[in-house]
């Protein structure tokens, strides 16, 4: 499927003005994204992970066109989508979004069938007389009975609602689906059903997917590629497997080992990462992760590391990247990797 990047982000930055409006005093500048560069190959699934406030949702919204970046270029199949007001509608339809809360993303007063019919009609995806058949086909693709078309959102379960949202996103035949925490509000057993649906859709329709999530287990399961974000920057990018092994950035490894695993007898004494995310209105100098990094050196406060190649298809922004698996400077997570590799 890989046929060059379908989506390319170059130097994308976004800042928001926050805090109280006080006369004569400038409001604080929150840098949500700083110089993000990213390429997504057609037909692949990219996971974007990080703590809340790392900018992952802002990035998703910029890709879909819900937020205008301050600087940088967003290119989709070669077309420049940066200027929201000049996005050619036909091109813009190619990128669709599935939101976190499946209930608030649906109109409570519209039958779910009409929710799916509306984009079919507005964008003339099919001839008007074929629209009901297309609606039923979409419902079946996402594993719902066409009989549910007459129901209202409140009559459906959380999993069914998310399936309706996915059907609506698919109605305009997009090539890229951006899912922002699309399974976070679902129970584990239902979450598995929706994750399998995403895998099936990717395989059957050849979709490119961008999966924004704070749940590393989910991303690790679903995504071939992963970008790890911290304070508005991509700090590491590579194969999805780097969440379980081969991470070069100390943040990636710490984040991954903070995820509780349902395996008894792995209790650690120390937290994986101490401290909290610094304020994005006042980020640390140099490397933004240095205030929480177990391997911090004086250089880290002075020079910001760039996202450098660490091997084939692998980039990390760290002056002192982790080296061999069992020779980490702290030695703290080596045992974690051992546990994981023996159970996988």
């Amino acid at each position: 499927m890989a046929s060059g990047p379908i989506l390319r982000l170059k130097g994308v930055s976004k800042a928001f003005r926050v805090g109280p409006r006080t006369l004569g005093r400038p409001r604080l500048l929150l840098r949500a994204l700083s110089d993000v560069n990213l390429e997504v190959e057609a037909g692949t699934t990219l996971g974007i992970v990080g703590e809340s406030g790392c900018g992952k949702s802002t990035l998703a919204r910029i890709i879909v066109g819900l937020t205008q970046p301050d600087a940088g270029v967003v290119a989709y199949e070669g077309a420049d989508l940066t200027d929201l007001h000049r996005r050619p509608p036909a091109v813009a339809l190619g990128i669709q979004m599935v939101f976190q809360d499946p209930y608030s993303a649906l109109n409570p007063r519209m039958r779910v069938g009409d929710t799916i019919l509306e984009p079919l009609r507005v964008h003339k995806v099919v001839a008007p007389q074929e629209a009901p058949d297309e609606r039923d086909r979409l419902l079946e693709i996402v594993g719902l009975s066409p009989a549910l078309a007459r129901r209202y959102p409140h009559e459906l379960s959380g999993g069914q609602r998310q399936r309706v949202n996915i059907a609506r996103a698919l109605s305009v035949r997009p090539k890229v689906i951006v899912a922002d925490e699309a399974v976070s509000s679902l129970d584990v057993s239902v979450q598995g059903q929706i994750l399998n649906l995403f895998s099936d859709l990717r395989d059957q329709l050849g979709l490119t997917m961008i999966f924004v999530s704070h749940d590393l287990n989910v991303v690790d399961h679903l995504c071939e590629r992963v970008a790890v974000m911290y304070l508005g920057r991509i700090v590491e990018e590579g194969r999805g497997s780097l969440l379980s092994q081969g991470a070069r950035h100390p943040y990636t490894r710490g984040l991954a080992s903070a995820v509780p695993q349902p395996i008894p007898g792995r209790r650690r004494v120390q937290p994986a990462i101490g401290g909290e995310l610094p304020s994005p209105t006042n980020p640390p100098s140099g490397c933004v992760f240095r205030s929480r990094c177990p391997d911090v050196q004086p250089l880290c406060a002075e020079v910001a590391p760039t996202l450098d190649p660490m091997g084939p298809d692998h980039r990390a922004a760290c002056h002192f990247p982790l080296t061999l698996r069992f020779e980490t400077p702290g030695g703290r997570d080596a045992a974690d990797d051992l546990t994981v590799s023996s159970t996988s």
Partner: protein, 341 residues
């Protein structure tokens, strides 16, 4: 004599729940929120109560200190805290119970804290309610409590309002408020669900260490079997208001004795397992009470009898119980199922 009494108290579980039935009543109907729930928590033990939304786990936790929704009623069974039956206590006695023995940590620390009171004032209120009057002593203990929960600059933090703190810091304050009177039992309802994984990791470790140091018992309600594995000693799995199995964390997670637990473990995406399809539990939990085993309609191992007669939570082996007619014959298959993932 005095010694014998003390030893007796130490041997009594801090919490005993027996045959607990809870119903939600509306004008039209009564629906079962918990049915025949039974478990106990020993002194210094961390017990996890795990289940999906609607399984009744929070309802069971809230029933212990009389914080049920006004439409919910305990209609049967017994709850004993430190040997004292609490289901029929009046509100004054319940208040005394909350003051002396039990503290609670909620999911959303912002809602659990008073937005118009400083952190210090709220912690002082807790101690004044417990009868402490000496201002200097109260101040000293607040600083100590905030230090215990890992808040830097406690003297400054005391003067902060909840909105000035991050989610993780607020949960640290809520934990400080819960622990400051050294209760014997902590009830924690999804205490880390609203937090990032890195902060969850810090808070779970903190809660675990503090309770271990002070010998407190914890009832931790969560939907996350990973959280259970990290901090709990024993665990009970709830499904549709019924406890389907209990046991030590090692037993339940590596060799589940109920098909629901096995299926839940198998449906979780795991670290290092890539691209394969997840095994899912078909369907969803029943919305109304059903006659037989509530899991039977979704169970891969159900027999016709399962839908007719509800299995009881039967003790088998030391400290292990399961509510499945077939747990004996399925033992090996379930362990295999859970580990395949």
């Amino acid at each position: 004599m005095h010694n014998a009494v003390q030893m007796d108290a130490a041997a009594t579980p801090i919490l005993q729940v027996e045959g607990l039935d809870i119903e939600y009543r509306s004008a039209a109907q009564a629906s079962v929120a918990a049915r025949d729930v039974a478990f106990s928590i020993g002194r210094g033990e961390v017990f996890g109560l795990v289940g999906e939304s609607g399984s009744g786990k929070s309802t069971v936790l809230r029933s212990i200190i009389g914080l049920l929704h006004h439409k919910a009623r305990v209609v049967g069974g017994a709850i004993r805290v430190a040997g004292q039956e609490v289901t029929r206590l009046n509100s004054a006695a319940l208040a005394e119970l909350r003051r002396r023995h039990v503290a609670m940590i909620f999911q959303d620390p912002l809602r659990a804290l008073n937005p118009v009171m400083t952190i210090g004032a709220q912690l002082a209120e807790v101690m004044e309610a417990a009868g402490l009057r000496d201002r200097a002593e109260i101040h000293r203990r607040i600083v100590g409590a905030l230090q215990d929960v890992g808040l830097a600059d406690p003297e400054i933090r005391m003067r902060a309002y909840p909105h000035e703190l991050s989610g993780g810091q607020r949960q640290r304050v809520a934990i400080a408020a819960a622990l400051i009177r050294s209760p014997e039992l902590i009830l924690a309802d999804e205490p880390t669900t609203a937090l990032d994984v890195t902060i969850q990791d810090q808070i779970l470790r903190l809660l675990y260490d503090l309770c271990r140091d002070k010998g407190m018992s914890v009832l931790l309600v969560t939907h996350d079997l990973g959280v259970v594995a990290e901090v709990c000693d024993r665990v009970g799995v709830l499904y549709a208001g019924r406890l389907v199995e209990t046991g030590t964390v090692a037993q339940v997670l590596s060799a589940p004795s109920h098909p629901y637990t096995a299926a839940l473990l198998a449906s979780m995406p795991r670290k290092g397992e890539r691209q394969a399809r997840l095994r899912v539990i078909p369907g969803r939990p029943p919305e109304s009470t059903i006659d037989g085993c509530p899991f039977a309609p979704r169970c891969a191992h159900a027999l016709p009898a399962c839908s007719a007669i509800p299995p009881v939570l039967a003790v088998h082996g030391a400290d292990r119980a399961s509510a499945c007619w077939r747990h004996d014959e399925l033992r090996e298959r379930l362990a295999e199922e859970a580990s395949v993932g």
